[in-house]
Symmetry: C2
Amino acid sequence: MTDRDLLSTVFAALADPTRRAILTHLAQGPTTVGQIAEPFAMSRPAISQHLRVLEAAGLIERTVTAQWRTCTLRTEPLDEIASWVDRHRRYWDERFDLLEDRLRAGRDAPTTPRPQEENR
Amino acid sequence: MTDRDLLSTVFAALADPTRRAILTHLAQGPTTVGQIAEPFAMSRPAISQHLRVLEAAGLIERTVTAQWRTCTLRTEPLDEIASWVDRHRRYWDERFDLLEDRLRAGRDAPTTPRPQEENR
DNA sequence: TCCTTAATTAAGGAGTCACTTACATGACCG
DNA sequence: CGGTCATGTAAGTGACTCCTTAATTAAGGA
C-alpha cells in the first residue's frame, strides 16, 4: 500500500531494527547523516532511504546546513503509537472486568462461540 | 527478513489497518474467525493469513473448539511496544533538558554539525 | 578552477507482503 | 454416509521493501 494512513506508516517505519537504532541514536541529539551512518555496515544510500522513511512517518525532521543534513527526532508520532497501544491495553482490561462480572453473575462464559449469528 | 526480532515482528504486525481492526474487534472479547472476517470485504483465506501474522507476533492466541477457532487477544507484545515507545519519548525529554542546560551555560548549540569527527 | 566532502537520486535485484482462487480437512447433522 | 459449515493450505500475482553500485548535486577549501 503506497498511500497508507499515518498509524500504519509509523508502525511500518518502526518495524525495522536499523531505523529503530537510528532513532535511538537520534535520541541523544540531532546529528548529520554521516554520523548516523557510521555504526552501520551498510551503504550511505541505504541509510538515506531509511531516513526518508522516518521523515515520511514524521519521526525525524531534516534541516539543511551547507552540505550537511541535520536530522532531529520528532516524537509526535510516538505519541500516537502510545495512544493506540494504551487504548488497546485498556480495552482488554475492561473486557476482563466484564468477564469477571458475568462469571460472578452466573451466566455462561462468553468464550463459547455463537456460530448461528454468522453468515448473514 | 524472514527471521526477525520480536519487536520488529510486532511492529510489522501492527502496521496493517486490517490487522489493527481485528485487534480492536478482539478487544471486545474472543470470537471465531468467521465473526472476525464478517466486516471485511476480503476473502476468508486473507483473514486467515492476517491471523497467522498476529499469532506469530504473539498478539492473539487460537484455541480449537470443534470446527471453530476461537481467537483471543494477548497484550504482552503491546507492553513491549509501549515500553520501547515510552523509553524513546523519555530519552528525548532528557535530551531537551540537557540542551536547555547548555544554552543556559552559554555554550553554542549542539545542533551545529561537527564534521571532522566523521569518517574515521 | 579543481578536488574533496556530504549527501541524494537513479536503476535494478532478491525477497517479502497482501491479496486472490481453487482445493483440502475436519467436525457436526440429517 | 453425504452434505454442509468453519477454517486452513497451496499456488500464483502484483506491489512494495531493503539493499546494492553508479552517477549526480552542491558546498567549501587549496
